[in-house]
């Protein structure tokens, strides 16, 4: 082999990967910014509830700090979720000169605070003894206003990153990192209508195209896959295919699919992934689709059977709804419903070599 001929190819390849990495970094930074601003508003709702409770307690005449905090969180919450609320309560009381002491030996009155979830609210209750009587103060905040709670997810040997979430149902997600501007193409089922969205690297919606032209009947089992090719997109629905261009939102063409021969499927085959260390091919298998169970995604060597010892498992915070791969097999997108928040989430996953 002519080594002089190989050199420029390697350089091009390196440039491509550098560009790809920069695009991915820009996308990640943009999405983080987007999430940060949203999380800020949601964190405010949490802190506001804690502030209101502290305000009500501090206005009780005769109550003086320091206090012992006797913290009780909803048993359904994770430790992280409990700590987040506890810290908000501590901060709120600190701001009102009712600080808590950490030293159990310090003589101080006890303030019990309960944080409990009801169907629509989180209820914060403070109970303390003053003189001869028990005092109770209660505030509540709508759960819909609160930041999503975190679930502990068991780490396995897959690299993964949450890159998008939405309260609208996401049917499919495709990476547009290889195209100019990067970003994501997303297929939603919003209010019983299929909608395609293109979001840029900062997470802002660039284009939204309704597939009302498909004249779909509402369904309890919405399914769809999108296959972007440059600015053109083909969307596979249950028995129809729709084609459109991001540049011409009014020109959506849909046609009914011909019946498939037995054994053939409309849907894409299992998503493939390549291991960067030895370029071995792997495929993703969704192992369960019950709506109220955590999803387990299994990555098996191509050709291996499900349940194989050589497979890699990753648990997600809810059912895995769809997967789609990048053309170069470097990564894949996984659409998941988070059972804790009800939001639909898109994760980017890739295989890592070693443990």
């Amino acid at each position: 082999m002519d080594s002089s001929a190989e050199h420029p190819r390697t350089e091009n390849s390196a440039r491509f990967f550098v560009a790809l990495a920069l695009c991915a970094a820009a996308l990640a930074a943009g999405l983080l910014f987007l999430f940060a601003s949203r999380a800020s508003a949601e964190d405010n709702a949490l802190q506001d509830a804690a502030n209101r409770l502290a305000e009500r307690v501090s206005s009780v005449p005769g109550l003086k700090g320091p206090l012992h905090l006797d913290w009780h969180a909803d048993i359904k919450w994770t430790e992280g979720e409990s700590e987040r609320w506890q810290q908000a309560v501590i901060d709120a009381f600190d701001d009102r000169s009712l600080s808590f002491t950490q030293d159990p030996a310090t003589p101080a009155p006890s303030l019990a605070v309960y944080a409990e979830e009801t169907p629509a609210h989180v209820v914060l209750t403070a109970k303390f003894h003053l003189g001869e009587r028990d005092e109770v103060r209660i505030v509540q905040v709508a759960r819909a206003l609160l930041p999503p709670a975190e679930l502990p997810v068991t780490p396995v040997r897959l690299n993964r990153q949450l890159i998008f979430e939405s309260s609208d149902r996401i049917l499919d997600a495709s990476s547009l990192w290889s195209t100019e501007g990067g970003g994501l193409a997303l297929l939603f089922y919003k209010n019983f209508e299929v909608v395609a969205q293109r979001i840029d690297a900062k997470g802002a919606v660039q284009k939204e195209i309704s597939l009302a032209a498909a004249n779909l009947k509402p369904t309890r089992d919405p399914r769809g896959e999108m296959n972007p090719q440059g600015s053109f997109v083909s969307v596979q629905l249950l028995d129809k295919t729709c084609d459109f261009s991001w540049d011409s939102s009014k020109d959506v063409k849909c046609h009914a699919d011909k019946p498939l021969p037995p054994g053939k499927s409309l849907w894409r085959p299992p998503t493939g992934l390549a291991a960067p260390c030895d370029e071995s091919d792997w495929k993703l298998i969704i192992a369960s689709s019950e709506p109220n169970a955590r999803g387990v995604l299994q990555v098996v060597p191509d050709g291996a059977a499900l349940g194989s010892d050589s497979s890699v498992l990753s648990e997600f915070p809810g059912p895995v709804l769809n997967t789609s791969g990048e053309a170069n097999l470097n990564g894949a997108l996984v659409v998941v419903r988070n059972l804790r928040t009800g939001n639909y989430e898109v994760y980017k996953i890739s295989l890592a070599c070693g443990d």
Partner: protein, 515 residues
């Protein structure tokens, strides 16, 4: 740590292997089939205007009605209100004026369009008198006489369905099913002494705005005794059955798939109004202290219930854990000793009427009598009263004590307490300000301190589910969501190789029949 991780991976792999073996791996939903549901109630009413708030029968009615009617909004599992027949809604700063825009294109199961006038008429007949409902061309408006920050909770629960009365008086809805056929209970042909239970056959609404349900039919069999239901589930003659709490343990031991709700039923005692003498306060306090709720929940109800110290459950209010019901026989005996001998409960036995239906509640009544005796109080079980209703249990005014079961039917704690108190003989109303959780807590505390109602236990609903039933995703507050349930195909291999699609050519009967 590493070994725990390895164990976890091994466990997951074993589970996956088991899934492969059972051929259920990520199977696509299957359309078709008949879901067989068995309920304890001998009859159901599909007219929400007739339902008695808090009654056990209302819960059964609501289960069937939820298949036929929709609501304006629903509450999801994540605390978010979701559009149903209302696409969007707004309210003013005072929470007194609400406006709901209806979903365009929603139709009743006979194909006629849903209008704002239909929705307003239905809601006016089910919402309380403090809420005035009107319709414009584009919206349903609700004006509350007092601030109603909990209006969405109310609309997402209870009897607040949207329906339309037809010329013959039957009601029709926009829901995922319609009533195709009803069969009254009849004597069995083979054994005239036996009764063939009533049945309701519901058929899928092909044009439901939220999508066609997965199953073609739901066959609801009414009036099946609990043990019979359990047996039918075991031998594959039923897909979904209600399980009595005393059968849950047996079901679990036999490996049945059992789901339970949050505690939805309160079992409690209520003193009759006639007990109004000064000594009656002592009597009530003594009985409150004598009740052994832990034994009732853990022994009598085999750990399938929770001891209750509040009128509203923890899952609904978030503050019920503040209430306590300490048992103190010693203090109860002291109070008993100070009772005048002529008082009911002292030398004269206090009559306990068990107004809730079923042997279980009778046993609880007997347990109350035993607890009372331990504190030297005389309680005697009276002959059975009205076996169906709560309202009679709460409003009757015979001497003594009543054991009743109260079913929560609202997602609004304020509305739930208000409904309970309205059924009291004096028809107390919870003040509007009690929509604030602290005010509601104070109101409930005051009621509990009066000791006129003594909570005993909270009971969840238990449901037995056949293994071939998929997508069971009921809410903790007891909405079964049967439109989303699908049945494993009899030929699951065939189902897996084909694309699941709704049946387009199902025969549609005339909708709107009323049982």
């Amino acid at each position: 740590m590493r070994s725990i991780k390895s164990l976890w991976l091994v466990a997951i792999r074993l589970a996956l292997a088991a899934l492969i073996g059972s051929s259920l791996l990520a199977a696509p939903p299957h359309y078709g089939g008949t879901l067989r549901v068995k309920l304890r109630a001998a009859s159901v009413s599909l007219d929400p205007r007739e339902w008695t708030p808090g009654s056990l029968s209302m819960a059964e009615n609501e289960k069937v009605a939820a298949l036929v009617y929709d609501r304006l909004v629903t509450l999801d599992d994540y605390g978010k209100f979701q559009p149903a027949l209302a696409m969007e809604w707004t309210h003013d700063a005072s929470f007194k004026n609400w406006q709901f825009k209806l979903r365009p294109g929603a139709r009743f199961s006979d194909g006629s369009p849903l209008t704002t006038a239909h929705a307003a008429t239905a809601l006016q007949s089910t919402l309380g008198k403090n809420l005035e409902v009107s319709a414009t061309d584009t919206s349903v408006n609700i004006h509350a006489l007092h601030p109603a920050p909990d209006l969405l909770e109310q609309l997402a629960s209870g009897r607040n369905f949207i329906f339309r009365a037809q010329l013959d008086g039957t009601l029709i809805g926009t829901g995922p099913f319609f009533v195709a056929e009803t069969t009254a209970a009849t004597p069995s042909e083979t054994n005239p002494a036996a009764i063939k239970p009533a049945k309701i056959r519901l058929q899928a609404n092909e044009n439901c705005w939220a999508g066609r349900p997965f199953v073609d039919f739901i066959e609801v069999t009414l009036g099946e005794p609990p043990l019979r239901q359990l047996m039918d589930l075991q031998i594959g003659k039923a897909d979904i059955v209600e399980l009595a709490p005393d059968l849950v343990r047996k079901g679990r031991q036999e490996g049945l798939r059992i789901w339970n709700s949050a505690p939805l039923t309160l079992v409690a005692l209520r003193f009759d109004d006639s007990l109004a003498s000064p000594a009656a306060d002592q009597l009530r306090e003594a009985l409150w202290l004598a009740l052994d709720r832990d034994t009732m929940a853990n022994v009598l109800l085999q750990r399938q219930a929770q001891p209750a110290a509040a009128l509203l459950p923890q899952w609904l209010t978030g503050y019920a854990l503040l209430f306590e019901s300490p048992m103190s026989l010693e203090r109860a005996r002291e109070l008993r000793a100070s009772l005048p001998e002529g008082e009911p409960g002292a030398a004269q036995a206090l009559r306990l009427h068990v107004d809730a239906p079923g042997d279980l509640f009778k046993l609880m009544g007997e347990r109350v009598a035993v607890n009372a005796r331990q504190a030297n109080l005389q309680v005697q079980i009276a002959s059975p009263g009205n076996a169906n209703g709560l309202s009679s249990a709460l409003s009757a005014s015979a001497d003594g004590l009543r054991l009743f079961a109260w079913r929560y039917d609202s997602l609004s704690p304020h509305a739930a307490l208000d409904a309970m108190l309205r059924q009291m003989p004096d028809g107390t109303e919870v003040p509007a300000a009690a929509s604030d959780p602290e005010q509601l807590y104070l109101q409930e505390r005051r009621l509990l301190e009066e000791r006129r109602i003594l909570p005993l236990v909270f009971l969840p609903d238990y449901v037995g589910i056949r293994s071939g039933v998929h997508n069971w995703n009921a809410t903790p507050w007891g909405d079964w969501r049967l439109a989303d349930v699908w049945l494993e195909s009899e030929d699951s291999s065939l189902a897996k190789s084909s694309v699941a699609t709704p049946r387009e050519n199902s025969t549609v009967r005339t909708p709107g029949a009323k049982p």
